[in-house]
């Protein structure tokens, strides 16, 4: 059951991540077009504002994919010296800390959206973007991250209880296939 769950989560988030990346690329194109237009003395206007919204939404929706790809950096100092069970416990604890924190973040993001909805707030810019329009997808991304984190935690906990430490490590361990850290 937990294998099927993890498989489904990975497939879903791969799709979400692809979509997120395509939106980012579209945004790059949009920015590019604006630079060209500007050289010809015209402009779409508001590329900065729109890039900001895209970044906020892309960030929140990419988080769960990174989680499942073991992309969120961790310091593997004590954990690396522990045995199979020890490593599994480190991983579960770290996963629980992450899940709890992300849930709190998502919960605390709601008032931001709520206020924009209640006041029908608009951005203080020429575009006058209704803020709820961009904040709802952003907020939904954090909810998605929290949800995926809980499901992954549960699946991994089941694997650990069954003594399948290697599979648990593949799901919530320290390093992904390529340790694609930044810089």
């Amino acid at each position: 059951m937990e294998d099927r769950l993890l498989g489904t989560l990975r497939r879903l988030n791969r799709g979400v991540a692809l979509l997120t990346g395509v939106v980012l690329m579209a945004c790059a194109l949009f920015v590019l077009a604006d630079i060209v237009l500007r050289q010809m003395g015209s402009s779409f206007g508001g590329t900065d504002e729109i890039s900001g919204y895209v970044m906020a939404i892309a960030t929140s929706w990419g988080m769960a994919f990174t989680l499942l790809e073991l992309g969120h950096v961790r310091i593997d100092l004590l954990r690396g010296r522990a045995g199979n069970l020890g490593r599994a416990l480190f991983d579960l604890f770290a996963m629980l800390a992450l899940t709890g924190t992300v849930t709190l973040i998502a919960y605390k993001c709601w008032p931001v959206v709520e206020r924009s909805l209640a006041n029908s707030s608009r951005a203080n810019t020429p575009l006058e973007t209704p803020l709820a329009l961009v904040q709802i997808p952003w907020f939904a991304g954090w909810i998605w991250f929290a949800l995926i984190a809980w499901l992954t935690f549960i699946a991994a906990a089941l694997l650990v209880f069954k003594g399948r430490f290697e599979d648990a490590e593949a799901a919530i361990g320290c390093f992904g296939e390529d340790q694609g850290a930044s810089s």
């Binding site: 692809l18 590019l32 906020a56 310091i75």
Partner: protein, 429 residues
């Protein structure tokens, strides 16, 4: 408060909780124990305002540039081309390792991907041509660190964002020290191989026509770098816009010179989203921690601590450098940078140091963290790409380059204008 934060930080990191989450947990702790107002109410707003940011979108764009160039095989071709040009030097291909890693990490954000690629292509050659595996792999690991210094650098974008420093100025400041370090790496390689020719493998030279043909392979990358940096300083584009230009340029180069396929694009996009979210979780956590620390009055407490220690400004810099070297053994680039910025940068700036200069100094120290054991990401990446030998060889091979970095640190402290000259000359425009 300072002691509690330091202990909390190291403790939580040691538990191998994700670094971004550690920053949030610390911030919750500061809020709970050291603040009069419930700062957590600001959490939602802070998460929104940090990620809704047109400057930070340069991060995924630059990552994408690197992903496309590396995955389309352009990096491999560049390596072959550079081989034609530098293999007559004492140390031969080792210079190609440094140069390829430098060029790619310069155009992109992804030095780890670069190190991995160069290592995969180069390692089989090393055995064939009789190079010393230690020096050879150490050079790849070290060359891969230069990307966070030579613009466009994602780490400099993050530094600029968190310290409210001008990103174009930081880019300018990083240019000279970055290139100097690359040349320093090559000089040290040549010196080692002059004194110990057995380490350097066979030197080879190629006929001129072949060299010129190889040059053709290098032109697009050089051009892309010039365009990205050029558009920023011509005032045509912000760093974000230049990054968008870079994306288009990289795709064009990949289409003309490399292999483009749907699968390769999908992999590049997935890699980009993964790295971007990783960076952003850490950046948002750091912003929130910054906010809670400032609200809880960290500044005055740090000042009091400093006055109590009676350190001179130079003494402070010395202590800070030591802190980074020690932490660098255990903590990695971006994490090291982000967890220390909220505490160390205000301290240094309060002593009258230029935040741009300090940003560059910090970057050299963080580059060093990438290749110092026991935790040095680039060492692992290079070792991962090698088929034989042990980790110790890569570590030994990296030592000469760590020495070059230490010299750079000393030079930057003695002559701040190495970093500050270009920004001061060009910032008028």
């Amino acid at each position: 408060m300072i002691l509690a934060i330091a202990v909390g930080l190291l403790g939580l990191l040691a538990l191998s909780i994700p670094v971004g989450i550690v920053l949030f947990l610390l911030a919750f702790g500061v809020d709970q124990f050291f603040s009069f107002f419930p700062l957590i109410r600001g959490l939602g707003n802070l998460v929104w305002s940090t990620s809704n940011n047109a400057t930070l979108i340069a991060i995924p764009f630059f990552v994408l540039v690197g992903e496309v160039l590396v995955r389309s095989g352009v990096a491999t071709r560049t390596y072959a081309a550079l081989d034609r040009w530098v293999s007559w030097l004492p140390g031969g291909l080792v210079h190609a390792n440094v140069a390829t890693a430098t060029m790619f990490s310069a155009t992109s954000g992804s030095s780890v991907a670069t190190a991995a690629t160069v290592a995969t292509v180069a390692m089989p050659q090393a055995e064939k041509l009789g190079y010393d595996p230690r020096l050879f792999s150490g050079a790849i690991a070290a060359g891969g660190t230069l990307g966070i210094m030579i613009p466009p650098s994602i780490n400099l974008i993050v530094y600029g964002f968190l310290t409210q420093t001008s990103i174009p100025q930081l880019f300018l400041a990083g240019l000279v020290p970055g290139i100097a370090l690359a040349l320093g790496f090559m000089a040290i390689t040549a010196m080692i191989c002059i004194f110990r020719p057995s380490l350097g493998g066979n030197r080879r030279s190629f006929p001129l026509p072949e060299m010129l043909r190889a040059l053709l392979q290098l032109v697009p990358i050089m051009l892309l770098f010039t365009i990205i940096i050029g558009t920023i300083y011509q005032g045509w584009a912000t760093p974000t816009e230049a990054a968008a230009v870079g994306v288009a340029g990289a795709i064009l180069i990949a289409a003309l010179f490399g292999g483009v396929s749907v699968g390769m694009f999908a992999e590049s996009i997935l890699g980009t989203v993964k790295i971007t979210s990783m960076i952003m979780l850490v950046v948002i956590g750091a912003s929130f921690l910054n906010f809670t620390l400032a609200s809880a009055g960290l500044g005055s407490e740090l000042q009091a601590l400093l006055d109590g220690m009676g350190l001179s400004p130079m003494g402070l810099i010395f202590v800070v450098v030591l802190i980074y070297i020690v932490l660098g053994f255990f903590i990695e680039t971006l994490s090291l940078m982000v967890v220390t910025i909220p505490i160390i940068v205000p301290l240094v700036v309060a002593q009258g140091f230029d935040p741009i200069w300090f940003g560059i100094l910090m970057i050299v120290l963080i580059e060093m963290a990438l290749i110092t054991p026991p935790v040095g990401l680039n060492l692992y990446v290079v070792q991962g790409a090698r088929k034989s030998g042990n980790m110790g060889e890569v570590m030994v091979g990296a030592i000469p380059y760590v020495i070059a970095m230490l010299i750079m640190v000393a030079l930057l402290i003695a002559f701040p204008s190495i970093a500050l000259y270009l920004p001061s000359v060009l910032s008028g425009s």
